[in-house]
C-alpha cells in the first residue's frame, strides 16, 4: 500500500510540475517553409480570407484592408515584410490569416499556413542567434524546440508597435531621401547610432549577419566611403542588403590584395620595402587567421629573402580546422609568381616549398581569441581578420598585439583597416604597417 501511495503522489507531483512548465502558448505557422510562433496573447483569432481591398500608395507589404465582421482591419503580408518568397495565389483564393491584437490595434497578417497551438515553458525559450539570416534578429523573441521542431518566436510588439514612432521620427528628419517606403519597416527599431542614418546602421548590421563583418573604428573610414559610393551605385534604389550576394558585392573592395593566393611579385616587393634593416639573429612572426596558409607561405619567403642570415619562425594559425589542415602540405601549380621560384622544388604533384622554408612555419589549429603562448614578436601580420571579429574581440586582439610586439616591432593590418590610437603609421600606401607608440 505505501508503495502505491508513493507512486500516486509522485504522479501528481509530476503532473503538477508539467503544468507548471507550460506557461507560454503560441500559435505556430510557417513562412517560406520555416516554422514560426507568435504569443497567443497577441492572437485574436485565425481566419481564411481573400479579396482584400487594395489601398493605393501603401507600402508593398500591405495587401489591403479587410472587413472583419464590420471592423475594418489592415492586412499585412508577413512574407513580403520579411523579404521571403511569397507565392501569389489566384485572385479569388483564400489566404491564411492571423488576426493579431497589439495594444489597441487589430490587424491581419498573411502567412503560408497556420499549424496549431503549442504550449511550452517560457524557461525553454532560447535567445535568438545573431545569424538567423532571413529575418532581422531584432524581431525575434527567441527560439524554442517542441516535438523536435524548432520554432522561431516573433516579437509582434516589436514588429508592429514601435514602427509607428519610427515613421514619425523619420518625417521629422527631412534629410532622409534614402528612406523610401521600403526602408522604414525593415529598419524598424534601428539603434539610434552614429550619424543617425538608419540605412547605414542597417547595412552595418546586415554585414555582421551575412559576412560576420563588424564595422568599428578599425574600418569605419572605409565603410563610410564605401557606403556613399554604394548609394550612388544604387542610384536612389533600395540601398539595403537583402541577400548574401549583395553583401558580397558591398564588401568586395575591402579585402586586401592577394587574399587567398600567393602574393603577387609587386605586392611582395612593396611589402619587402616596408621591412626595416635589422641586426638580429632570429625573428618571430605571428600570422593569426592565416586561413589556407597562402599568406604564411608568402611571408616565410619574403622574410627569408629580406633577412637571409636570420633564423625565421612564422606562427600561422587559424580556427578553421579544414582550411588549416591543408596548409602544411600545400602543392602549387607551375604558374606561381616568379618571386617564389628560388624557394620551390618540383615534385610529383607540382611545386612545393623547400625544406628550410617549410621548417620556418608552424601551422597551428588555434583560436587567436584563446591565450596565445608566443614569445615576444618582431612582426604581426593580420590582414582583414580583425574586421571579422566582434567589436570587443577586436579590441582584445589589438591589446594582445601591443602586448606581444617588441618595441620596434611592426603590425601589418589589412589595406582598409586602421588600428586607432596607440599606434603610429610606419607603412606605405600599399601596405598598412604600424608601430606601437611608446
Amino acid at each position: 500500500m505505501p508503495a502505491q501511495l508513493e507512486a500516486q503522489t509522485e504522479a501528481t507531483e509530476a503532473r503538477k510540475e508539467k503544468a507548471d512548465k507550460v506557461d507560454y502558448k503560441m500559435v505556430t505557422f510557417s513562412l517560406a517553409g520555416k516554422e514560426y510562433g507568435i504569443d497567443i496573447m497577441n492572437v485574436k483569432e485565425i481566419a481564411k480570407a481573400g479579396r482584400f481591398t487594395y489601398v493605393p500608395n501603401a507600402a508593398p507589404f500591405v495587401r489591403g484592408v479587410y472587413n472583419l465582421r464590420g471592423e475594418i482591419i489592415s492586412v499585412i503580408d508577413l512574407r513580403i515584410f520579411f523579404h521571403l518568397p511569397a507565392e501569389r495565389k489566384e485572385e479569388d483564393s483564400l489566404e491564411s490569416l492571423l488576426i493579431l491584437r497589439v495594444d489597441d490595434h487589430v490587424f491581419g497578417v498573411i502567412v503560408d499556413a497556420i499549424d496549431k497551438v503549442v504550449g511550452i515553458s517560457s524557461q525553454s525559450i532560447q535567445p535568438p542567434h545573431p545569424i538567423f539570416g532571413d529575418i532581422n534578429v531584432r524581431y525575434i523573441k527567441g527560439v524554442v524546440e517542441n516535438a523536435s521542431k524548432l520554432y522561431i518566436i516573433l516579437d509582434v510588439e516589436r514588429i508592429f508597435a514601435p514602427q509607428r514612432e519610427e515613421e514619425e521620427k523619420e518625417e521629422a528628419v527631412p534629410a532622409k531621401a534614402l528612406a523610401g517606403a521600403e526602408a522604414s519597416p525593415a529598419a524598424g527599431t534601428t539603434l539610434a547610432s552614429s550619424g543617425g542614418d538608419i540605412s547605414s546602421s542597417f547595412v552595418k548590421e546586415t554585414l555582421a549577419a551575412f559576412k560576420g563583418f563588424h564595422v568599428t573604428g578599425l574600418n569605419e573610414t572605409w565603410f563610410e566611403q564605401r557606403f556613399s559610393e554604394w548609394k550612388i551605385e544604387r542610384a536612389g534604389k533600395d540601398v539595403q542588403l537583402h541577400e548574401a550576394s549583395e553583401a558580397d558585392e558591398f564588401i568586395g573592395g575591402f579585402w586586401s590584395s592577394c587574399t587567398g593566393r600567393l602574393w603577387e611579385d609587386d605586392y611582395a616587393a612593396a611589402f619587402m620595402a616596408t621591412l626595416p634593416d635589422l641586426e638580429t639573429k632570429s625573428l618571430n612572426i605571428w600570422n593569426p587567421g592565416c586561413g589556407k596558409g597562402y599568406e604564411a607561405w608568402s611571408l616565410a619567403c619574403i622574410f627569408r629573402k629580406r633577412y637571409p642570415e636570420t633564423r625565421i619562425k612564422v606562427w600561422a594559425n587559424d580556427s578553421d580546422l579544414l582550411a588549416i589542415s591543408m596548409a602544411p602540405n600545400m602543392v602549387f601549380p607551375e604558374n606561381i609568381p616568379d618571386f617564389y621560384g628560388e624557394f620551390t622544388v618540383k615534385g610529383k604533384n607540382g611545386l612545393s616549398f623547400i625544406q628550410p622554408v617549410r621548417d620556418s612555419i608552424f601551422f597551428e589549429f588555434h583560436d587567436a581569441l584563446n591565450p596565445n603562448p608566443l614569445p615576444p614578436l618582431d612582426f604581426i601580420v593580420c590582414r582583414d581578420m580583425l574586421s571579422l571579429l566582434a567589436p570587443a574581440d577586436q579590441k582584445k586582439m589589438l591589446d594582445d598585439f601591443a602586448d606581444k610586439l617588441k618595441p620596434a616591432g611592426l603590425l601589418f593590418l589589412g589595406a582598409n583597416e586602421r588600428p586607432g590610437s596607440g599606434w603610429t603609421d610606419a607603412g606605405s600606401e600599399a601596405i598598412g604597417a604600424y608601430r606601437k607608440e611608446s
Binding site: 580546422l321 608552424f362 601551422f363 589549429f365 583560436d367 603562448p373
Partner: protein, 154 residues
C-alpha cells in the same frame, strides 16, 4: 596546436578503441577549448615532453569506464576497483603511445610520462593559458573525450 599533431592523436584514438573494444567507434567533431572543463568522473592523464610540452587527458564517466574495462578484460566488472583503474590507465597509455610513435615517424620527438588516473565527483581541470583540442569519441560503451593540449617550447 600544430596541425601536424592532430591526426596522429585522432587516428591512434580511433584505431586503439576500435581494436580493444572490437566494435564500431565514431569520432565527433573536433573543437578547441581554453576554459576550465568539468571532468565526467574518471580522467586518465599522460604528460608529454620533448620538443613540446603538454598533456593528454582521457575523460569519461564511471559507467563508461566500467563497461570499457569489462570488455577489455573479457569479464563483467561491476565495481570500480584496481583492475578497472589499471585497465583505463593502460588504455590511455596505449592511445598516447601509438600517437607518439606516429609523430616520431613524422620527425617529431615526444616523450611520455607514466599515466595517472583521477576519479571522483564534481572534478574540474583548469590549466590556465592552455588551449586544448577536444576529440570526442563515441563508443557503444559510452562517450570518451580526449583532450589534447600541446605547445611548442619557445
Amino acid at each position: 596546436m600544430r596541425v601536424e599533431y592532430i591526426n596522429p592523436f585522432v587516428e591512434a584514438a580511433f584505431n586503439v578503441l576500435k581494436e580493444v573494444l572490437n566494435s564500431d567507434v565514431r569520432r565527433g567533431e573536433l573543437y578547441l577549448k581554453s576554459t576550465s572543463m568539468p571532468v565526467m568522473g574518471v580522467a586518465a592523464i599522460v604528460g608529454l615532453a620533448g620538443d613540446v610540452e603538454g598533456r593528454v587527458l582521457f575523460d569519461m564517466d564511471k559507467p563508461t569506464a566500467l563497461k570499457i574495462a569489462s570488455v577489455m578484460n573479457g569479464e563483467n566488472l561491476p565495481n570500480f576497483d584496481d583492475l578497472v583503474k589499471a585497465t583505463i590507465t593502460e588504455l590511455a597509455n596505449m592511445i598516447t603511445a601509438q600517437a607518439v610513435t606516429k609523430l616520431h615517424d613524422l620527425g617529431f620527438r615526444f616523450d611520455l610520462t607514466p599515466p595517472a588516473i583521477f576519479t571522483g565527483e564534481n572534478m574540474e581541470v583548469s590549466d590556465a593559458e592552455v588551449e586544448a583540442l577536444i576529440v570526442p569519441m563515441e563508443t557503444p560503451q559510452g562517450k570518451i573525450e580526449i583532450n589534447v593540449a600541446i605547445r611548442e617550447r619557445s
